[in-house]
C-alpha cells in the first residue's frame, strides 16, 4: 500500500446530526436525579379543572392569592394549568401513601413576553407524603437535590432558604441559588410542607399523614445551565438555537 497517495488533511465529510431541545435535556437530567432518590415520574394534564388548579389546593374563590397565577381560561372554563401543583390532588387520590413523585408539565400564565417572562414554561413538581415528615426533611431533600444539580452542571451554586407564602403549603419556603462571585440570588425552588387542607381535599387525615411539595422551574434552570440570554429562544423554533445544545 502506498500511503502517500492519501492526504489526511482533506476536509471532513459533515455527518447529519439532530439535537434534543435543551428543555428536554434538563428535564431528563433532573428527573434522573429524583428517580435515583426514589421518586416516581408522573406527567401533568395540560388542561384541568378549577377544582384541581385552585380549590383542592386551598385557594378560596375570590381570594387575592389567586392573583399569584395569571390564569388563562378556555371558553368551557377549563384551565390551561398555571402550575403542576394541579396534579397534587390526583396523586393524593390515586396513590396509597407513602407517596414520592415528581410531576413534569408545561404550564401557562397570562404574561406579556419579554426576555425574562414567558406565557409558556415548564415545571417539575415534587411531592412526598408519609407519616411524621419533618420540615428539616424538606430542606434536606431539596438541598441534596440542588447540590446534585449544581454538581452535574458544574455551577458551584451556593444556596439559602427564605420564608415565603403559597396557599397550598404551610410553612412555605423558597430555595435561592447564587453563582460563585455573583451577588444576585435567583429563586430556584419554591416549596413547603403540604397544607393540611390539601391533604384533606385528597382524602388523607392530616393527623396521620403529612409531607412536602416543591416546584423546580425547568426553563429557569436551563437558562442558568447554559447562560441563555433570553427566555424567548426556547419556543422560537430556530434551529440555530437548538443546534447549540
Amino acid at each position: 500500500m502506498n500511503n502517500t497517495l492519501i492526504d489526511p488533511t482533506i476536509p471532513v465529510l459533515p455527518i447529519d446530526k439532530g439535537y434534543l431541545h435543551p428543555i428536554t435535556q434538563t428535564y431528563n437530567e433532573i428527573v434522573e436525579i429524583f428517580m435515583a432518590m426514589g421518586f416516581e415520574l408522573v406527567e401533568a394534564r395540560m388542561v384541568n379543572t378549577e377544582e384541581a388548579v385552585f380549590s383542592s389546593l386551598n385557594f378560596p374563590k375570590d381570594h387575592p392569592a389567586r392573583d399569584l397565577m395569571d390564569t388563562f381560561y378556555l371558553e368551557t372554563n377549563y384551565i390551561p394549568i398555571p402550575h403542576t401543583s394541579s396534579m397534587q390532588n390526583t396523586l393524593l387520590t390515586t396513590r396509597k401513601p407513602p407517596i414520592a413523585a415528581v410531576i413534569a408539565g408545561r404550564c401557562f400564565r397570562n404574561e406579556k413576553l419579554d426576555s425574562t417572562h414567558e406565557h409558556t414554561f415548564y415545571q417539575l413538581e415534587g411531592m412526598y407524603v408519609n407519616q411524621k415528615v419533618r420540615l428539616s426533611d424538606l430542606i434536606g431533600t431539596l438541598k441534596t437535590a440542588a447540590q446534585l444539580i449544581s454538581d452535574r452542571y458544574q455551577l458551584g451554586l451556593e444556596f439559602k432558604v427564605l420564608s415565603t407564602y403559597f396557599p397550598f403549603v404551610e410553612p412555605g419556603i423558597e430555595i435561592l441559588a447564587r453563582k460563585p462571585n455573583s451577588d444576585k440570588w435567583l429563586e430556584l425552588i419554591p416549596a413547603g410542607m403540604i397544607h393540611r387542607n390539601v391533604l384533606i381535599s385528597g382524602g388523607l387525615d392530616p393527623e396521620i399523614w403529612n409531607g412536602f411539595a416543591w416546584a423546580i422551574g425547568i426553563d429557569r434552570l436551563t437558562i442558568l445551565k447554559y447562560g441563555i440570554d433570553d427566555i424567548r429562544w426556547f419556543h422560537s423554533g430556530d434551529l440555530r438555537f437548538n443546534q447549540q445544545f
Binding site: 439532530g18 434534543l20 377549563y78 428539616s136 441534596t144 404551610e170 410553612p171 423554533g237 434551529l239
Partner: protein, 669 residues
C-alpha cells in the same frame, strides 16, 4: 408594600441594625425584599403585595415593626401622633348618626364620627415626608391624616365633606347596602360608575331617599370629596368583606390603596384605634366615647391553638425551650400560657391566618431562620419508584430521531383561528389534516393575542411555521416535536393526546427523493420500536409552504396508539440458506400508485417472499407521451429449511405477471 425604615424605627426604640441588615432579616424571615430605595435620609424596602396576601396586618407599618421586634427580640413601643397644629376641629354632639347595615355579612363594622370646624391646609413636613416615603401624594391635612393612618395601621379611613350630606331633624343617615341597577356614582378619580346589585355602597339616607356617596372599601364619591372649602367632616372607619371588595374592584377595574387592604381581610378590631388616632390628630382630643360604632360580631374565629414544644422541636429539628418559643410568639402579639411542654396560645385578632399548629410551627421556624435548621432526609423504607413506560417511550423516540439527524423543537400550545381545530385523519393510509374539532371547545377567553387564541389539536400547523422560518436559512432539515394536543368531546374535560409530529423539508424540488427520505425515516422509527405492520403503510402529508420554495412532507401519530402496538423483540433463527433475489420490470400508467401492486405481489407469492423493494422508477420521453412509467421491483425469496430452486419461483412469477397485466394493464418488460 413599601416599608420605611425611619417610620418603623419610631416603634423600635432599641433598634441598632442598619437598613441593609433589616432588609436581610425581612427577606429571610418574612418575604423577599425586592428593591431598596432611598428618600431623603430614609431607606424604603419594597415587598411584593402578592407575597403578603395572607397578612392584612402587614399592610401597615406597625405590622413590620412587630415582625422586626420578634426577629431581633427587641421591644415594640407603639405611640400615637400629636395633634396637627392649626387644624382645629371639634367633635360635635348635637347631631345623631344613624348607621344601617343591610348586609352584615359584607360589612361587619362601621365606625364613624363627625368633626366640625376644621381648617383645610397643607400638612406639616414630617407628615408629607412619611407619605412621600411610601409613594403617596400629599393632598391636604385631612386626606393626608387618613392616608397616613392607613399606612400606619393597615386600616383605611375615608373622610367625607359633611356639608354635602343631607341632615334630617338633626339625624344623619348612613346606610351600607347593595346597589341597584339604575344607580350611578361619580368617584373621586372622575370615573362614572354604573352600579349593579353585586356592588356594596355607602349611601346618605333620609326618609325619602338613599343617595350613593361611596363604593364601599374602594373609593369615595366626587360629590362629598374633601376640598379646600371643607369645614365639617365625617370620618368613616369600617370593615368590609374581603371577597366582596375584591369582586367589585375587579369588576369595575378600580383598585385603590383601600381596596388593596380590604381584600386581604382586615381585623375588625382596628376600626376604633385608627379612628381614635385620627380624632386625636385633628382635634387634640381623645374622646373615643363619642364615636358611633355599629359592630355586628360574627361567630368568633378560633382564637387559641395548643402545641407541644417537643412536637415542634421534632418537626423543625431544632431544640428550643418552651420559654423561648413563648417569648417569640408574644413578640408577634400572642398571649401564651406555658405548662411545661404544653403551650396554649391565644391569637391576636389581627392574625386570622394562624389557624393550625403548622401555622405556629411556621412562625417559630421563620423567626428562628430556616438556614439554621440542620437538614435531614426522610426516613423511609427502600422501595422502587414506579416505572413510567410512556415517558421512556417518548425519550426512546426522541433519541432515535435525533440520532438520525432530526431536530427537536418545542412550539407554543396556542395557535391562531385559521390553524385552530385541525386534526389528523387517515384516509386509505394517506394522512390528511382535516378541520374536525369544534373551535368553541378550544378557544381561550382571555387570550394574549389573536395569534395565541386557541389551544392546538395538532402539532403540524406550528411545525409548518417553524419549517417556513428555518427554510430561510437551511437547505434541508428534519424537525419534530413530541407534545400534547387537545381532543375535546362536548364540554367534558378534554382528552389529551401525546403526539409525535415530524416534517422533512428540502429546498431541492426532487419530490420523489424527498418522499423516499421521509418514508425511510418513518420506517426506521417503526423498525427500531418494533411497531406492527399497519403503520408501515401510512403515507405522509404533503405540507403546503406559503411563499417558500422547496417541498415538505410530514407525519403525525398519537403515541398511545403507537406504543400499544409495539412488540418486544423476540429472537428468530437466522437462516442458513441464502436468499434468492429476482427483479421484475413493467410499464404502468403514470397515475398508478405502487402500494396496491406491492400488496398484490405479497399476497400472490405468500410466505416464501420475504422482502420486496422498489429499485427504480423512471420515465423517458416516449413513456411520457404514452402516459406510462417504468417500475422495477426486487423480490427476495427465502425458505429457512432449504435453498430455493428457480422452478419453485417461476410459477409464482407467471401468476404475478398475469395479474399485473389483467388488473393494471401492465406491460411486462
Amino acid at each position: 408594600m413599601l416599608i420605611s425604615y425611619n417610620w418603623i424605627k419610631t416603634y423600635l426604640p432599641n433598634l441598632t441594625q442598619t437598613p441593609a441588615e433589616i432588609a436581610d432579616f425581612l427577606s429571610t424571615s418574612l418575604a423577599e425584599v425586592e428593591t431598596i430605595q432611598h428618600y431623603k435620609d430614609d431607606t424604603i424596602f419594597e415587598i411584593k403585595n402578592i407575597a403578603l396576601s395572607h397578612r392584612a396586618d402587614l399592610f401597615g407599618e406597625i405590622g413590620f415593626a412587630r415582625e422586626i421586634s420578634a426577629i431581633l427580640n427587641t421591644d415594640l413601643v407603639l405611640s400615637n401622633e400629636l395633634p396637627i397644629p392649626n387644624l382645629n376641629g371639634l367633635i360635635t354632639t348635637d347631631l345623631k348618626l344613624n348607621i344601617t347595615i343591610q348586609q352584615p355579612e359584607l360589612c361587619q363594622r362601621y365606625s364613624c364620627i363627625i368633626i366640625k370646624g376644621v381648617k383645610i391646609s397643607e400638612s406639616p413636613d414630617w407628615l408629607k415626608d412619611r407619605l412621600i416615603s411610601v409613594n403617596m401624594r400629599p393632598i391636604n391635612n385631612i386626606v393626608d391624616i387618613t392616608n397616613y393612618l392607613m399606612f400606619k395601621h393597615g386600616q383605611p379611613l375615608h373622610a367625607f365633606d359633611f356639608d354635602q350630606l343631607i341632615i334630617e331633624n338633626n339625624n344623619v343617615g348612613i346606610e351600607v347596602r347593595n346597589a341597584e341597577n339604575s344607580e350611578k356614582l361619580e368617584l373621586i378619580d372622575g370615573t362614572f360608575l354604573n352600579l349593579n346589585p353585586s356592588d356594596l355602597i355607602i349611601t346618605n339616607s333620609t326618609s325619602q331617599k338613599s343617595i350613593p356617596i361611596a363604593l364601599a372599601g374602594i373609593m369615595g364619591g366626587k360629590a362629598s370629596e374633601i376640598s379646600t372649602q371643607t369645614k365639617n367632616i365625617l370620618i368613616e372607619s369600617a370593615n368590609f368583606n374581603m371577597y366582596q371588595i375584591r369582586k367589585s374592584s375587579r369588576f369595575h377595574a378600580i383598585r385603590s390603596e383601600a381596596s388593596l387592604r380590604f381584600e386581604k381581610g382586615i381585623d375588625p378590631q382596628l376600626t376604633i384605634p385608627t379612628l381614635e388616632e385620627a380624632i386625636m390628630m385633628i382635634t387634640g382630643d381623645n374622646k373615643s366615647n363619642l364615636i358611633t360604632d355599629e359592630y355586628l360580631k360574627n361567630s368568633p374565629p378560633k382564637n387559641s391553638i395548643k402545641i407541644n414544644s417537643t412536637d415542634l422541636n421534632y418537626y423543625l429539628n431544632i431544640n428550643l425551650t418552651p420559654q423561648v418559643i413563648s417569648s417569640t410568639l408574644s413578640r408577634l402579639g400572642c398571649i401564651v400560657n406555658t405548662d411545661s411542654e404544653l403551650l396554649n396560645i391565644q391569637l391576636p385578632s389581627f392574625r386570622k391566618d394562624l389557624k393550625n399548629q403548622e401555622d405556629i410551627y411556621e412562625e417559630i421556624a421563620r423567626i428562628y431562620n430556616y438556614n439554621k435548621i440542620t437538614p435531614t432526609l426522610p426516613d423511609r423504607s427502600i422501595q422502587p419508584a414506579r416505572f413510567n413506560p410512556f415517558w421512556r417511550f417518548k425519550n426512546t423516540l426522541r433519541q432515535i430521531l435525533t440520532e438520525s439527524g432530526a431536530n427537536e423543537l418545542l412550539q407554543y400550545s396556542f395557535v391562531n383561528e385559521q390553524q385552530a381545530g385541525l386534526a389528523v385523519e387517515i384516509n386509505e393510509n394517506q394522512l390528511i389534516l382535516a378541520s374536525k374539532i369544534d373551535k368553541n371547545l378550544i378557544h381561550i377567553k382571555n387570550t394574549l393575542s389573536p395569534e395565541l387564541s386557541y389551544m392546538r389539536t395538532s402539532l403540524i400547523p406550528s411545525l409548518t411555521n417553524a419549517t417556513i422560518e428555518n427554510a430561510k436559512r437551511f437547505n434541508s432539515f428534519t424537525i419534530f416535536e413530541i407534545g400534547k394536543v387537545l381532543y375535546p368531546i362536548d364540554d367534558k374535560l378534554p382528552n389529551e393526546l401525546d403526539v409525535l409530529s415530524m416534517i422533512y423539508y428540502s429546498k431541492n424540488n426532487e419530490q420523489l427523493n424527498n418522499l423516499k427520505l421521509i418514508k425511510g425515516l418513518w420506517r426506521m422509527i417503526l423498525d427500531k420500536i418494533g411497531a406492527e405492520d399497519e403503520f408501515y403503510k401510512w403515507l405522509p402529508f404533503q405540507i403546503t409552504l406559503e411563499n417558500t420554495e422547496g417541498v415538505a412532507f410530514g407525519y403525525e401519530i398519537d403515541l398511545t396508539q403507537l406504543l400499544s402496538k409495539c412488540v418486544y423483540p423476540h429472537f428468530k433463527t437466522i437462516p442458513l440458506h441464502p436468499e434468492t433475489k429476482q427483479d421484475i420490470s413493467f410499464l404502468i400508467s403514470t397515475e398508478q400508485v405502487l402500494d396496491p401492486i406491492i400488496q398484490l405481489i405479497r399476497t400472490t407469492a405468500g410466505d416464501i417472499l420475504k422482502e420486496i423493494e422498489v429499485i427504480d422508477i423512471f420515465q423517458n420521453e416516449k413513456m411520457k407521451t404514452n402516459h406510462q412509467k417504468s417500475v422495477t421491483l426486487r423480490m427476495y425469496f427465502l425458505d429457512p429449511a432449504k435453498s430455493i430452486a428457480d422452478e419453485e419461483i417461476n410459477p409464482i412469477r407467471e401468476k404475478i405477471n398475469e395479474l399485473l397485466i389483467r388488473n393494471y394493464q401492465a406491460i411486462i418488460r
